[in-house]
């Protein structure tokens, strides 16, 4: 089993800037763990703290249960893949891949052999003597992975390594990365601002915003039960109806909104009088009228996407409302400009306090 990573009350301050605040997370050995957040949220700082390129202002870093706080990157069983890949342009591919072995003093013949093995692993046999600039984006990507794996790390740290690739290649590499992680059993900590990437690949996802940890959960949990309004907005599409909490009972909160009283499951620590919002996913919004929460709206346009159709509607106060309606449930398609009633059940809506 590969090593776990524990971050305990990590804090990182650069001059006046508090890049990371009270960050705690436990990554299990062999887990594919993602840190998701918009650019500048501090996620790369967390990764560099795990790698040992920087040391936390406060808090501790444990790898495999051992406190490594204060030790440099070469003393940690980690390996990092950079956003820019940082392949060495003046070395052929094979020397790039086994650079980590070269600095450990492993003889050349053995290095070359290991390089060939790794080239097979990344499905680039015979590419050893090419130069980096002769490779395509996807090939460079794979060489960077091989170089990071050559030192047999316990934990692989990936800093948005797919961001430079085009969409199709990115999707392909996602699957490859996931398969590679399963095959090697190495713990992956993956940084991304792309929520679909994080949701598709990860065992668990940590969402960060402005240096603060928002939530750690499985992709499904994250989508179904976002812990904060930030997570609700950032992960997936959502409709947001702001208002004031009138009361909470039996885990259901009633919120006074501009569309009348709307009900939903109460988020953590929600109390009467709080400024909050009701969040509901487009696929939970339907055209049926018997649900508790109803919104009068005007149909604007319908985007047919095969299995579902996305209905763009406008509530009476002008707010845009999205409803994803399953093909089968569509029945009579609403006409553009026609008055419609949108509804959703309290069980499928979530009420979260404004932060």
């Amino acid at each position: 089993m590969s090593h776990s990573v524990d971050l305990i009350d990590i804090e990182m301050i650069f001059g006046q800037v508090r890049a990371v605040e009270k960050f705690s997370a436990s990554v299990e050995g062999g887990e594919f763990f993602s840190i998701l957040g918009p650019s500048g949220c501090g996620k790369t700082t967390v990764l560099r703290l795990v790698a040992g390129f920087i040391q936390p202002t406060a808090g501790r870093v444990l790898i495999g249960g051992k406190d490594v706080t204060g030790s440099g990157p070469h003393q940690r069983p980690t390996s990092m893949i950079f956003q820019s890949l940082a392949l060495f342009p003046l070395m052929p591919v094979w020397e790039n891949i086994v650079f980590g072995l070269e600095v450990r003093g492993i003889p050349k013949a053995e290095r070359r052999k290991r390089a060939e093995e790794l080239l097979d692993l990344i499905a680039l046999p015979g590419f050893g003597d090419r130069m980096i600039h002769e490779l395509s984006g996807g090939q460079k990507q794979r060489v960077a992975i091989a170089r990071a794996l050559a030192v047999e790390p316990q934990v692989l740290l990936l800093d948005e390594p797919l961001s430079a690739l085009d969409l199709k290649l990115r999707q392909h590499m996602r699957a490859e990365l996931r398969a590679l992680q399963k095959r090697t059993g190495v713990t992956f900590i993956y940084i991304t601002h792309d929520q679909s990437e994080a949701l598709a690949m990860s065992d668990r996802v940590a969402v960060m915003s402005a240096g603060k940890l928002q939530q750690i959960a499985t992709p499904r949990e994250l989508y179904a039960n976002p812990a904060t309004s930030f997570v609700a907005r950032f992960v997936g599409e959502t409709n947001e109806f702001p208002g004031r909490v009138r009361g909470v009972s039996d885990g259901i909160a009633a919120v006074e909104t501009r569309h009348g009283l709307l009900k939903g499951r109460a988020g953590p620590g929600l109390r009467a009088g709080d400024q909050a919002a009701v969040y509901v996913r487009p696929e939970a919004v339907s055209l049926e009228t018997e649900n508790d929460n109803r919104i009068e709206a005007e149909a604007e346009r319908l985007e047919f996407e095969g299995a579902v159709a996305i209905l763009h509607a406008k509530a009476q106060d002008g707010q845009a409302v999205l409803a994803a309606i399953a093909h089968r449930g569509l029945g009579q398609a609403p006409v553009s400009g026609g008055a419609i009633k949108l509804s959703f059940t309290p069980a499928e809506a979530l009420v979260l306090a404004n932060v």
Binding site: G72, S79, F82, A86, F88, L90, V103, R147, V151
Partner: protein, 286 residues
Amino acid sequence: MTMALEAPVAARLNTPKGGLATIAELLPRIIFAIYMILFFTYLFLPLAVMTAATFNTSKFPTVTPWLGTTLQWFDALWADQAMWMALRLSVLIGTCVIAIALPIGTAAALFLTSLEGRARTFFYAVMVSPLLTPGVAIGIATLILWRQAGVGGGLWLIILAQSSFIAAYVMLMVIARLQRFDRTLEEAAIGLGASRWMVFRRILLPYLKPSLLAAMLIAFLQSFENYNTTLFVRGTETPLTVFIATKVRTGLTPAVNALGLILIVLTIVAAVALELSKRSRAAKPA
């Protein structure tokens, strides 16, 4: 003659705007051509005159009056032992200056790029100041400084005095390349377990190689052609520039022109060879 006349006529017919427009279009190009001719004449005429004088029988380096064509000055140059000694000394000095200025300039460049803010500006100014100081002042200052330590003018002072400002050239050239260096490469190497020295040897040095080679060349040429700094610290040594300057007083013959011509030819051959090897290397990976 007719051909030459026909071409502009054809050009004029092809432009829809007619004759006047064509002249307006051509005028900037004509002015530019004249400018370029004047520019290159200004640049190369002295060299041409110097070259021509090499082959004049006249005892003085001149083209007028032309007293007859000869190769005798090459023989004279060949036989001039003092000149050969001066040349050998200049090459020795140039080589030693490279050995001192290259590491110092490179270290300064690495140090400067690691600094930020005011400290950087300060050290940059300190390092570059020898370039702005008159060479004569550097020569005199070096002489005075080392006289305190009991060291007089001579080979070592020439090398030290020249290195003090040539290191700044090296630094500027290395900095120019260093600023484009991707720092994450360094981090990547360290992350893979490389020591500082390993990063320098395997990543940074190969990256800096082209600018180091160029800096070596510039350092050598700067040393080779230096006169005013060298003059004050030379002691009894006579490098080539000093030798030629002395000749002006004691009687200059076209043998000096022959030397100049040889140096020019060597420079051209070296430059062409370098360019050719660069092109063949650029063609290979494709």
